[in-house]
Symmetry: C2
Subunit: 111 residues, 2 copies
DNA sequence: ATATATATTTAGCATTACTAAGTACATATT
DNA sequence: AATATGTACTTAGTAATGCTAAATATATAT
């Protein structure tokens, strides 16, 4: 039961979190999954089938671009994502939206 | 664009908000729509097609029950919803879940 | 040799907030 | 009287998104 609601609550914030991590520096998919897990203390443990479609969508929308790394030594080539100017603008918008949204939830719940 | 994300952010919290309002006293559907709008300063302006299915789902899950009011005078009969014991338990769970969730979002966004 | 970790892709499913339309009655306006 | 608006509930269908699950590939550890 709890699981079902937890899943739903995530809708709409994952893009924001991914953009936030990418606003620090370029990162590849698997790295994003690991960082989201660590930095949320296990709240955001995304599956590949969740993260990669998010990245593809954001690329279509012009919020990120990607480049394949040239593997050094025995390294595997990785797909690095970089946030665009529009991505930063949307990130700012989303953060404001989230704060206002969370504030409204709080005002109803705490009354 | 903003609208799209706002819609998604709502997923999973509407049940919690409705249960919270019903935890005060029994209410009918239209009343819930009005109170959600007022008490969130316009953030939660649910359409009928959003609220009523939520109530039906929660009834199926045993979180609420309903009764039709006996109309006094020229009043229209209204369907009042009342929260159950299980509904209160789920409300508590959802509130804890939301707080932890919002905390995780904050910890990633503010770093 | 096998298992685990890293790294990406994609098909299909479930859930839910929405649009949009319909029903019905009461009150207000023209 | 006729029309519009407000109250109150119902339901069919759509879009979006997080999930499961499987496939592919290489590197490292047991």
């Amino acid at each position: 039961m709890k699981q079902k609601y937890e899943q739903q609550m995530k809708k709409g914030v994952l893009e924001m979190l991914v953009l936030r991590l990418l606003s620090e520096n370029e990162k590849y998919g698997y790295q994003l999954i690991c960082e989201l897990k660590e930095r949320s203390d296990g709240t955001f443990m995304l599956k590949e089938g969740t993260l990669y479609p998010i990245l593809y969508r954001m690329e279509e929308d012009g919020l990120v671009t990607n480049r394949w790394s040239e593997p050094k030594g025995r390294e595997v080539s990785k797909k690095y994502y970089r946030i665009t100017g529009e991505g930063r603008a949307v990130l700012t918008e989303l953060w404001e939206l989230w704060q206002s949204f969370a504030g409204s939830v709080g005002s109803i719940m705490k009354k």
